[in-house]
């Protein structure tokens, strides 16, 4: 039986259990998800979108799934101390795919009307709000993970910011992967921003125990008119981790969204970002860094859909590949008929440090409007020899010079991160990463 069939059977056999551990709104989408999965199946290597990441193999093992919602016996606040200096955040935790209600979360002070917390609980308490948005962007009528995630997701995180409310303090959602068996985790994130509201969300992925994990993450972001949203997705996991994520963003007029993907440590990662600029004057800044080595693999795919005029999108992805690491980047920009005065820039630059490192890049432009300024650029190369020579001439040791050049290379992306304390921390983390000091995430006590 192929993996798709396995998951369909698993769901049919355990439907009551899945639905029992979740909320009505989430359950109401499961029939559509089942249909989508039956029709389109799981992603596999035969598809153009998954040409460079063999995700079909990821779904083959017999993963455990916590459908019965057994509690994870970890004291979260004790296990985790995030060491971002000067960054004070409102902390939330997801233990695998269960929202962990902790004291820290309860102490968080939020302006009136803001909802932040368990998606399951929010769906039970505010069904009219959640049902308006849940599953409305995630496309289940294509081979991807939206269908399988919607089918099994029981909980996750919800952020709702009403019209005109500004959240000064960034929210931080820390996902801790911890399990005694190899585990598949299906989590869901929903962000709803009202008109002219503002929020920042930092997602951190950590693995506590060195078991194998497969994470599917589907996030939906609705950026209302004139809203401002920053999303930082930081992955610091280990070699046995498989992560496949889809982020859907819908931007209304004059909204301003920044998305930064940082992969410092991982096993195999596939991130897909599908952003729709559906209102005039929307702006998107989409950035990514991957610093990987050994057998690690990172595949980022982005799709920016310019539907209305006067929108601006700006993309920058940089990879540093060491050892036998492999990277892939595919970015597509679609400018629809009538989306005049579009400005779109896309850049992907990569450094391969060894012979075994491998990079595949595929930028794409599809343009159906004439009054536009669009460009893309991609390079694959090594560190600049002249710059190396210059530094060595001035007495800087080779290893140090290399470090500085690599740091400067990814520094361009870090510079685009608008949250200053995070920028500092990223600079430090990247430096540590390049020095080989960061073999495990430093924030988790369990790792030490």
């Amino acid at each position: 039986m192929n993996p798709t069939q396995n998951y369909i059977e698993l769901f049919r056999d355990n439907r009551t259990l899945v639905e029992h551990g979740s909320a009505g709104v989430m359950n109401s989408m499961r029939d559509a998800a089942l249909k989508g999965l039956e029709l389109y199946g799981l992603p596999h290597k035969g598809l153009e979108e998954y040409l460079h990441t063999d995700v079909s193999a990821w779904f083959e093992p017999d993963w455990g799934m916590n459908l019965a919602r057994l509690e994870m016996p970890v004291d979260l606040a004790q296990a985790f101390k995030c060491s971002v200096p000067n960054l004070s955040t409102q902390l939330y935790f997801l233990a695998n795919d269960i929202f962990a209600s902790s004291d820290t979360a309860a102490k968080n002070q939020l302006p009136e009307g803001v909802i932040a917390g368990s998606l399951k609980e929010a769906a039970a308490q505010h069904p009219e709000l959640v049902s308006q948005f849940y599953g409305k962007l995630a496309d289940m009528e294509k081979p991807g993970i939206a269908a399988v995630n919607t089918l099994f997701a029981q909980d996750g995180f919800l952020l709702y910011v009403p019209d005109g409310v500004v959240l000064e303090k960034p929210l931080q959602l820390i996902t801790l992967l911890s399990s005694k068996v190899d585990l598949m985790v299906n989590r869901r994130i929903l962000v709803i921003l009202g008109r002219a509201s503002q929020a920042k969300l930092l997602l951190c992925d950590h693995a506590l125990v060195a078991n194998r994990y497969l994470t599917t993450q589907v996030a939906e972001v609705f950026a209302g008119e004139g809203s401002t949203f920053q999303l930082y997705d930081l992955e610091e996991t280990h070699y046995a981790n498989r992560r496949i994520s889809e982020l859907y963003v819908n931007q209304d007029a004059d909204s301003n969204v920044e998305i930064d993907y940082v992969t410092l440590h991982n096993g195999q990662t596939r991130n897909t970002v599908l952003s729709t600029l559906s209102g005039r004057g929307a702006r998107l800044s989409l950035n990514g860094i991957a610093t990987i080595d050994k057998e690690q693999h990172v595949d980022n795919m982005t799709f920016v859909d310019h539907r209305q005029s006067d929108c601006i999108s700006n993309e920058l992805f940089k990879y540093v590949l060491d050892d036998s690491a492999s990277g892939a980047f595919a970015g597509k920009v679609l400018v629809r008929h009538g989306a005049q005065h579009t400005e779109s820039r896309q850049t992907n630059r990569n450094i391969c440090l060894t012979r075994q490192a491998r990079m595949f890049t595929q930028p794409q432009l599809e343009i159906y409007a004439d009054d536009v300024k669009c460009s893309h650029g991609a390079t694959v190369g090594q560190l600049d020899e002249k710059a190396m020579f210059y530094m060595r001439q001035r007495g800087i040791p080779e290893s140090e010079a290399r470090m500085m050049l690599m740091q400067a290379f990814v520094g361009e992306v870090i510079g685009r991160v608008s949250l200053e304390p995070l920028r500092d921390r990223l600079n430090r983390l990247v430096e540590k990463r390049f020095r080989g000091e960061l073999t495990q995430c430093e924030g988790c006590r369990a790792c030490r």
Partner: protein
């Protein structure tokens, strides 16, 4: 003549001017029955008097073709093609009566090529001269300057002749670059191909004149499936030109060709194309479907292959001239201008496969879309594990004229060697208002101004063309853009 008729004739004149090669020639042409079966393949082989091995080659390809499906990955909307409704062989050189005489060409055919501006009389050629192999439908009607070339040991003849006179060379190289299994159209071509040109430049010879093949589709209900093979031996040089036109017809005609090039040590081949197949009328009716596989194996050390193409014709273009850079220090170049207007669709680009050490490639592609057309660049830069020091630079620019057309870029980069440097840049924009305003201000009308700016934009590529072609290409770009101002 009443006014309506007058109007009509005027319209006809004007539309004929837009595509000035749209005439047909009334010449007795022997066309085999429509349809494609194993018997058709045998019949073509028999007509051409081919040896057994050639027939085997065709049959193998035909049987493989049966197992294949038409590719759908390109950014093209290709209507279903009924391969059984096409005639695969049309011979305009066969006399109605009497034995066939190769030296005697039907005056009608001569006139056709004169009208196309391709002189088949050697004395009429420009000084310095261009040797021409003129192919009408499935048959090469004449190859000029064969004697002059033969003195230097250069072989320049039709493929049919090469199979008869130089079987060893043909057998050695035919299908060595583009295997019949390569793709759907390559398999089809390998099964039914008719004349194209065969060129062999011996060691150390610099070809004294430009070689050129002119392809003309004339007969209705046929397709053209020519095959060209160029072999440049060590330290040789050749510049080869290809031109093509077809009559204006309401039906779509199929053109599926293969061009194979082998470049040995330190040799250099320059291959230039001005593709001007009938693009269909302003409503998208008719036009040639151009599905071509062009590939060069740059086999030798320090060898060089350069593709230059100006694509203005065809209703649908599916074409990726490629270089396999096998020899150490070998070089590949691709310069392209693709212009689409009305309802034309083009998906064109290149593949640069770096296998040898210190191989270099340059890709410059300029796309121009107007009307309701769709114009895509699709390219692959692949650097193999052993290609130390490989270097690539690609630049793809698209220019949009009008708000109903589309310009797309699909570059692929696959790098397996850390010493490689691969760069790609692409921009898409519309024609600059400032430049147009400047021209208008100085009394240059809009249409001419656009022509001027487009020619300037394409200059980088046009400069790579041999002189005779460059002039023609510039004129073509301006004509193809007529009536884009709205």
């Amino acid at each position: 003549m009443n006014t309506v008729e007058q109007d009509n004739s005027l319209i006809r004149e004007i539309s004929a001017e837009k595509y000035r090669y749209g005439f047909t020639t009334d010449v007795h042409t022997e066309i085999i029955d429509r349809g494609l079966t194993e018997d058709t393949v045998r019949l073509i082989s028999e007509r051409k008097g081919e040896p057994e091995w050639m027939l085997d080659f065709r049959l193998k390809a035909y049987r493989h073709w049966l197992t294949m499906e038409m590719p759908r990955w390109a950014h093209l909307d290709i209507p279903d093609i009924d391969y059984q409704s096409i005639s695969y062989y049309a011979d305009p050189t066969v006399k109605k009566e009497g034995p066939r005489n190769l030296d005697e060409i039907d005056p009608q055919v001569m006139k056709t090529f004169d009208k196309l501006g391709i002189p088949l009389e050697e004395r009429l050629a420009l000084s310095g001269g261009v040797a021409v192999d003129a192919v009408m439908d499935s048959v090469s009607v004449k190859t000029t300057f064969k004697k002059t070339l033969a003195e230097k040991g250069i072989i320049f003849c039709s493929m049919g002749e090469a199979v008869r006179n130089h079987p060893d060379l043909v057998r050695r190289y035919l299908g060595s670059v583009v295997n019949y299994r390569d793709n759907f159209f390559a398999a089809l071509n390998s099964a039914v191909f008719s004349d194209g040109s065969f060129v062999y430049i011996p060691k150390g010879v610099r070809c004294p004149m430009e070689l050129s093949t002119y392809f003309r589709i004339n007969a209705a209900g046929t397709g053209q499936f020519e095959r060209t093979l160029i072999v440049a031996d060590d330290d040789s040089y050749v510049s080869y030109l290809e031109g093509c036109t077809a009559p204006m017809r309401d039906e779509n005609q199929l053109h599926a060709a293969i061009v194979e090039i082998v470049v040995m040590d330190r040799a250099e081949v320059k291959y230039s194309t001005v593709q001007n197949w009938y693009p269909g009328d302003e409503n998208g009716k008719g036009g040639v479907y151009n599905f071509v596989t062009k590939r060069g194996l740059v086999k030798g050390v320090d060898a060089k292959l350069s593709w230059t193409q100006v694509e203005t014709g065809s209703a649908i273009t599916w074409k990726y001239p490629s270089c396999v850079l096998q020899g150490d220090g070998s070089q590949g170049e691709f310069y392209s201008v693709a212009l689409t207007n009305n309802w034309q669709q083009a998906d064109t680009g290149t593949k640069m496969i770096h296998l040898g050490r210190n191989t270099r490639s340059t890709v410059i592609s300029k796309g121009i879309s107007a009307g309701h057309s769709q114009n895509s660049y699709r390219g692959l830069i692949k650097v193999g594990e052993h290609a130390d020091g490989a270097r690539n630079y690609s630049q793809c620019d698209s220019l949009l004229l009008g708000s109903d057309c589309g310009a797309h870029t699909f570059p692929y980069m696959d790098v397996k060697n850390e010493t490689a440097i691969v760069e790609h840049e692409a921009t898409t924009s519309k024609i600059s208002e400032d430049q147009l305003f400047y021209c208008n201000q100085r009394g240059i009308p809009m249409e001419q101004a656009i022509g001027l700016i487009v020619n300037g934009y394409a200059k980088e590529v046009l400069n790579k063309l041999p002189m005779e072609f460059a002039v023609e290409a510039q004129r073509l770009l301006s004509v193809s853009l007529e009536n884009t101002v709205g």
